[in-house]
């Protein structure tokens, strides 16, 4: 009769080591090190994402002011919304790239939901009738998010794919379009709810889908 199975000690037995495999891996690692790629901290990446999203939003504001599409009075009148969007973008960018950012990620999602609600509720009745089709807002908001989306995807590839992280990065990127909508669009709350928030949602979906499909450069948390 064989002795009873001691599963714990069996589990703790080391499988045979493959020294040649380890040597090959070390050689590959030395090859990677020899390329001397710059080391970027996650904080730097988060700042890049904030700069891409927030910076583009501010650049859009300057261009719209210069073109006369928006006015200084409108800008001041909606300053609280713009600050809320910039803050949401910053919190979401930080949460998306922080290695231990679960709390900040949740805060980012909550802030984005508050921002979305405030954007709709703060919009009164339309001041003027627009001749531009409504979908133009959605398309332009998605398009203006392209650059920060690329920055976000490159940064996300430096860590293992996590849906929450990609979602929060998408929320950060989507604020750029929402910001533009506050400056360039005078339509009512139904339009904001239907077309502006749709664009924000599409950017989030794009961030999730593309990020999931890309092979990560690293499996680090």
């Amino acid at each position: 009769m064989s002795p009873p199975l001691d599963l714990d000690s069996l589990l703790s037995e080391e499988p045979p080591r493959d020294a040649s495999a380890a040597a090959r891996v070390l050689a590959a690692a030395q090859g990677e090190l020899a390329q001397r790629r710059p080391v970027r901290g996650w904080r730097t990446q988060a700042l890049w994402l904030m700069a891409a999203s927030g910076g583009l939003s501010l650049a859009v504001a300057v261009v719209l002011l210069a073109l006369g599409v928006t006015s200084g009075a409108l800008l001041l009148g909606r300053a609280h919304l713009l600050v809320l969007l910039l803050g949401t973008s910053a919190v979401c960018a930080w949460g998306a790239l922080s290695p231990r950012g679960r709390g900040v990620q949740r805060l980012g999602v909550a802030l984005a939901m508050v921002s979305a609600a405030v954007l709709v509720l703060a919009r009164g009745t339309p001041h003027a009738v627009s001749t531009v089709p409504e979908w133009v807002c959605t398309a332009s908001h998605v398009a203006v998010g392209a650059v920060p989306l690329v920055v976000a995807l490159l940064a996300l590839r430096t860590a293992v794919f996590q849906p929450m992280r990609a979602l929060v990065a998408g929320l950060a990127v989507g604020t750029t379009g929402a910001f533009m909508g506050e400056l360039a669009c005078e339509r009512g709350w139904r339009h904001v709810a239907g077309y502006h928030l749709l664009a924000w949602g599409l950017v989030v979906i794009a961030s999730l889908a593309i990020s999931k499909s890309l092979k990560p450069r690293s499996y680090a948390p």
Binding site: L10, D18, V25, G41, W42, T158, F161, Y219
Partner: protein, 181 residues
């Protein structure tokens, strides 16, 4: 003066000292190899994942936070790499199952090699990846259920259940093997 800790070496590596990486590799590659062998069984795949793990350490050294314990951080990377490979393998297997659905339901009795360790590795492959990971991390690597829970974003109760179910299933699989001997 004693040898530097893993954390000191990792911080030196972050600051550009490549020799610190080689010391870390020498210290821990065997342990990571053992973990991956238990997780994926296949030698070539385990080697690919070992490489992915240490390349991740190099590429993501900017994500290492001073004060973080190095070994759990390293094993988290290895676990993430294994999970990704197993997910991919599941897709391949699902595709292959259209052709052949005769996957074994239990460990086959030993044919040529009587080594129980080999059968343990085979039996581990029969567990769902989540349970396998929980068993290996808790029973072999000594992780707490809280640590496993933090790794996978689940509750510690769920981590405990995964490990317990996996362990019991493993016992059943190897028990049936014992009876067959």
């Amino acid at each position: 003066m004693g040898s530097p800790t893993d954390e000191e070496l990792m911080e030196r590596f972050r600051d550009g000292a490549q020799d610190a990486f080689e010391v870390l590799f020498t210290r821990h590659s065997g342990r990571v190899q053992g973990f991956l062998a238990r997780m994926v069984r296949s030698g070539p795949l385990a080697e690919d994942l070992l490489q992915a793990t240490f390349l991740s350490v190099i590429r993501s050294r900017g994500r290492y936070e001073p004060g973080t314990r190095f070994l759990p951080w390293l094993m988290t990377i290895a676990a993430n790499a294994a999970r990704d490979a197993l997910r991919h393998q599941r897709h391949v297997d699902a595709y292959a199952s259209h052709v052949d659905t005769s996957a074994p339901a239990s460990v086959q009795p030993p044919a040529g090699d009587p080594s129980m360790r080999r059968h343990l590795l085979d039996a581990l492959q029969q567990l769902p990846p989540d349970q396998r990971e929980a068993v290996v991390l808790s029973k072999v690597e000594g992780w707490s259920f809280e640590e496993i829970a933090a790794l996978r974003g689940i509750s510690s109760g769920a981590a405990r259940i995964r490990a317990h179910r996996g362990y019991e299933r493993l016992r059943e699989l190897l028990g049936s093997l014992e009876e067959a001997r």
